[in-house]
Symmetry: C2
Subunit: 402 residues, 2 copies
C-alpha cells in the first residue's frame, strides 16, 4: 500500500521534522511502497496534487536539511472540511482518490483545525467500513491542543521568543534612563508562548511583567504595575500575549480592535503592544517601545530547539507505526513522565475528544494577573533545550524546497 502525508495550518519551525519522521519511518516499513506528499494540505488530496517524496528526499543529508527548513515544505491550507451532511461529495472524492492511489493511511500534521479534519475523515472512513487509517499529528506554536503534554513546534517558538526577549532585555539595559519595552507575543486565546518567558526571569531578571489572555486585563491596573516596577527597575520589559483583550474605549475605538475574521471564524487580533506603548507614553511619559515578534516566532529555524526538532521527528515516525498497528481516528501525543530528568513517551489519544478544544495556561500558574509562577519553568524549560542543527552556505541557511 501507499500512504499520504500533508501539512496544514500555520507553519512552525518543526513541522518539516515531523514530515521527515513520517517519510523515513514509512520508507522503512515493509508494507508501505510509496510515500506521497499532498501539496497545500487536504486540498492537495482531492486535487490529486501529489509529490512522490522519494523523488525529492534522496539522501540522509536531504532529510537533515528538511528538519532545518522552516515552514511547511508541502505547503499548507486553511481549508475547513465541511460536515459530511453538508457536502458528501467531497468525502466521496477523497475516498475515490485514496482508492485510485492505493492509500492505506493518511497522516495530517496540523493544529486544532486540522484535527477537526482528522476527526471528520476518520468518522467517515469508519462509517463506510474502510480500513484506511487517518492519523493526526499535532503541530502548533500555540501549544493549545488538548490531549498532549505539549505540541511539536512550541519548543522552537518558545526558544526564539525567550532568546529574543533576553537579547531585547540586554539591549534595553544600556542607557541609564527609565524605559519600558513591550514585547507582543503570538497566542490568540492561549498564552503559552508568552507564559514561557517566565524561564527568563530567574536568568536575566526580565520580563518583569507577563500578561496572558487567560487573565482579565485592565489598563489602569497595567499602568499601576508598570509604575511600581519603574520605582526600582531602570528598564522594564513587559511580555504581552497578542490575545490579551482590553476593554478601554481608546483601544476598542482607536483602531486596535480585531479587523478580520479568517476562514475558521477566528478573529485576527493585533495591536495590543502598540496600544500599550502609546498608553505608557501618554500616561507615564518615559521612554517606551513596542516590539512585535511577529511571524519569526513560527519560522525561526535558525534558533530551533533541538528537543523540539528531535521530538517532532519522533512523533512523525510513531504515527506511522501506530497506523501500521491498525490505529485510526487518533492524534499522536506526548506524555510527560518527568521534568527533571525530562522524560517523554509518545502515545495517542482518541481524536473525537481533542478536536476544537483549546488548552489554556492553567489559572493557578498565573499570579496577580501579571506574572507566571516560577515553578512553571519546570514545564517550559526542557522544551527549549539544545540547539537544532543548521546547514549554512555563504552565511545563509540551506533549505529543502519541495
Amino acid at each position: 500500500m501507499n500512504v499520504i502525508v500533508a501539512q496544514s495550518g500555520g507553519p512552525t519551525a518543526a513541522i518539516n521534522a515531523t514530515l521527515a519522521g513520517v517519510f523515513t519511518e514509512a520508507l522503512s516499513q515493509e508494507h508501505i511502497d510509496k510515500v506521497y506528499g499532498a501539496r497545500f494540505g487536504i486540498k492537495g488530496v482531492f486535487e490529486e496534487d501529489f509529490v512522490d517524496l522519494s523523488n525529492v528526499l534522496k539522501t540522509g543529508e536531504d532529510i537533515r536539511i528538511l528538519c532545518a527548513t522552516p515552514s511547511a515544505a508541502l505547503g499548507s491550507c486553511r481549508f475547513r472540511l465541511p460536515d459530511y451532511s453538508e457536502n458528501p461529495l467531497i468525502y466521496e472524492d477523497i475516498r475515490d482518490v485514496f482508492a485510485k492511489y492505493n492509500i492505506g493511511a493518511f497522516f495530517y500534521i496540523g493544529g486544532n483545525d486540522s484535527m477537526d479534519t482528522v476527526s471528520k475523515l476518520s468518522r467517515y472512513f469508519s462509517l463506510i467500513g474502510s480500513d484506511v487509517r487517518i492519523i493526526g499529528i499535532p503541530k502548533t506554536i500555540d501549544n493549545d491542543l488538548a490531549g498532549t503534554d505539549h505540541t511539536p513546534g512550541f519548543g522552537s517558538a518558545a526558544k526564539f521568543v525567550n532568546v529574543s526577549v533576553g537579547e531585547i532585555a540586554r539591549d534595553t539595559s544600556v542607557y541609564n534612563t527609565k524605559s519600558v519595552v513591550i514585547v507582543e507575543i503570538m497566542g490568540r486565546h492561549a498564552g503559552w508562548l508568552t507564559a514561557s518567558t517566565c524561564i527568563l526571569q530567574s536568568v536575566y531578571g526580565a520580563p518583569q511583567l507577563i500578561y496572558l489572555p487567560e487573565s482579565p486585563f485592565d489598563i489602569e491596573v497595567f499602568l499601576n504595575d508598570v509604575n511600581e516596577q519603574l520605582k526600582h527597575e531602570n528598564s522594564v520589559i513587559v511580555a504581552v500575549s497578542e490575545g490579551v483583550e482590553c476593554a478601554a474605549p481608546e483601544y476598542v475605538d482607536g483602531g486596535f480592535t480585531p479587523e478580520t475574521v479568517d476562514a475558521f471564524g477566528h478573529k485576527y487580533v493585533s495591536g495590543i503592544g502598540k496600544f500599550l506603548e502609546k498608553t505608557v507614553k501618554a500616561k507615564i511619559g518615559c521612554k517606551v517601545r513596542s516590539v512585535e515578534l511577529n511571524v519569526s516566532q513560527r519560522c525561526a529555524s535558525h534558533i530551533a530547539s533541538k528537543t523540539d526538532i528531535d521530538e517532532s521527528l519522533s512523533i512523525g515516525a510513531a504515527a506511522v507505526r501506530a497506523a501500521m498497528a491498525g490505529q485510526t481516528g487518533v492524534m499522536m501525543a506526548f506524555v510527560r513522565k518527568g521534568d527533571s530528568p525530562y522524560i517523554v513517551d509518545i502515545g495517542f489519544v482518541d481524536i473525537q475528544g481533542i478536536a476544537n478544544v483549546e488548552k489554556k495556561v492553567p489559572s493557578d500558574w498565573i499570579v496577580h494577573g501579571n506574572c507566571v509562577k516560577s515553578s512553571a519553568t519546570a514545564y517550559f524549560s526542557p522544551l527549549i533545550r539544545g540547539e537544532a542543527e543548521n546547514f549554512y552556505e555563504n552565511g545563509l541557511p540551506k533549505y529543502i524546497i519541495i
Copy 2:
C-alpha cells in the same frame, strides 16, 4: 600608564567583541597597566564611573562569552559633547580625570555621534599639548560611517536581517494564495541593511522589491511595482528601509510621520511598513502583512556573523596598537583588498573628515528605485559569512554582565 575604553550610541551584536579586542590587546602591552571601562559612554568618564576590566574578565572563556553578549556591556549614552567654546569646563574635567587615573589613551567605540566626540576630544588634547591619545573605533549596524569599507556590527545585523527575511519568505510561501509581506528594516538615512537583502534574491528569489531612503519613493509607483510582481509571483516580499519617506498625504497626515527628535536632532521615524500594509490592503486587496524586525536587528547575537565578530575583535586590538604607536585623532577603519577571496586590512583615518558624514548606498547600485543590482552581493556577502560562537545553558545564551 592606564587606558579607558567606553561604548556609545545604539547597541550592536558586535560592540562587545571590540571591547574584548581592546581589553586583550591592552593586557598584552608592556606599557599598559590597567584597562578601565567607563560606564554609559563618555558620561562615565567625567562621572568617574569606572570598572577595572581585569576584575570582571578573568578567563579566556569570559572573553569568548563577552564576544557573544549582545548590546553594550559597559552601557551606552546618547550624550552630545558640547563644543569647547560652549562648555570648556567639561573638557577640563575630562583632562583632570585622565590625569588622576594616569590615562594615556581613550578608546571610544561608537557611531557617527561618537566620532564627533572623538574629533572634539582629540582636538582639545592636541591644543593643550597633551599626549593622551584619543582613538575612535567604528560601530554601527547602519554601516553609514565614511572612511571605512564597512562598520563592525553591520555584518551581524545584515545576517539577522537576511536569515529572518529568508525564513519569512518560506513562511509566506505555504499558502496557495496571493500575498504580500512588507518587511521594515532599520536605517534612518542610509539603506545599507535593507540593500543587503539583495543577497537573498539569487538564493531564495525574495525579496522581489527593495526600497531605500537613497531613492525617491512614490506610493503610486510602489503599488504598480507590487501589482506587476503579483502577476507572476504567488507571494511578494518587500524589503523597505524605515527611512523611506513618503509624501502621500495619507502618510503625512495619518499618524505615520516622525514623532520624536532625539538628543542629536535626529528624527525618530517609524511606521512606513504599517502604512504600506494598509495601503496594499486598501488599494490591492490581497492578503498583506507587515513585519518590523525592530531592535533584534542590533542585538541578535545568537545569529551573529563570525566574520563580523572576528573583525570587531581585531579592530579593537588594532586600535590599541595604533595608540601605542602614537596615533591620536583617528578612527580605525577596514580597507577591503578583495571580494573573492575576501581580504580586509585594518588601518585608520583622520577623524576630522569622518565625523558627522553619513555614507549612503551608492546611487548606481539602485535599479529602477525598487531593486539593488546583483553585483552588490559581492560587497555584502562576505560580511555575513560564518556563524559566531554562542554559549548555551539550559537552552538560553550565557552573557557577561559587567
